[in-house]
Symmetry: C2
């Protein structure tokens, strides 16, 4: 489902976006591609103690600008980032999919495979993009729950 990438491919990605191939960037990419849930800046900080939080902040910003990752706010309003699977371009994202926020583990899942139902807005509103948010129990937490 999610295309697993190796280090060479991450280097290629940075190349394509005219970003220098630095250790912090490669580590962030590899972490984000290894999970099937979105990653918050605190998540990164907790793992990469040796990288400055400002550097992580800037990496997330530039990756989002370039269309490598997109930002999703969870139920508490904290920003989470997930890799784009929608051929997003610099400053122009197309990540119009469903986001699922688990109320137990707080993880944010991008449900890329689901397409959004079309909807008609009241007269006068000119929509440019849509996102559907769902919250509830994710598969893992639902299983743990029913076992008890």
């Amino acid at each position: 489902m999610i295309p697993v990438k190796n280090n060479y491919q991450f280097e290629d990605m940075l190349d394509k976006h005219q970003l220098k191939k630095t250790a912090p960037r490669l580590r962030v990419l590899s972490m984000m591609y290894s999970k099937n849930t979105a990653t918050s800046q605190p998540d990164l900080e907790n793992v990469m103690h040796d990288i400055d939080r400002v550097t992580l902040y800037r990496i997330l910003n530039v990756f989002e600008e370039k269309g490598i990752i997109h930002k999703v706010f969870d139920l508490d309003g904290t920003a989470n980032y997930a890799v784009c699977h929608s051929d997003c371009e610099a400053n122009h994202h197309h990540d119009e999919h469903v986001h699922f926020n688990c109320t137990v583990c707080k993880n944010v899942y991008c449900l890329n495979e689901l397409s959004l139902p079309s909807i008609t807005l009241p007269a006068g509103f000119k929509p440019e993009s849509f996102t559907l948010y769902a919250s509830g129990l994710c598969p893992k937490c639902d299983k743990k729950n029913s076992v008890k």
Copy 2:
């Protein structure tokens, strides 16, 4: 459309939720009911200079807890609050409608009249609530745009 309320009705609302009828609370209620867009804490601060921002912070929190208002994050991740029209209960909201965030004026509109299309999630996900976010041009900004 939006039921306009007077001060007696705001006092009743506070009564019903076992909240004391204080001046700051009544003013916040009256401001939020007078607009058809959501209100951020900075919005309130800009108008009610004499009320401490911690008080506003606490009023918004308790109103949300009681089911009087609900929280919506806009495109920048700042929290906006709008009055509930879905008979929400304490700690249990039912505000499953479309939210529209204008990219120009940044206003957040609750489109209460629209019902959400039903959607089936991948196996294992147990959704409890849905929200659809749309962003683009609101009626006002669209008009201004086409006049120029």
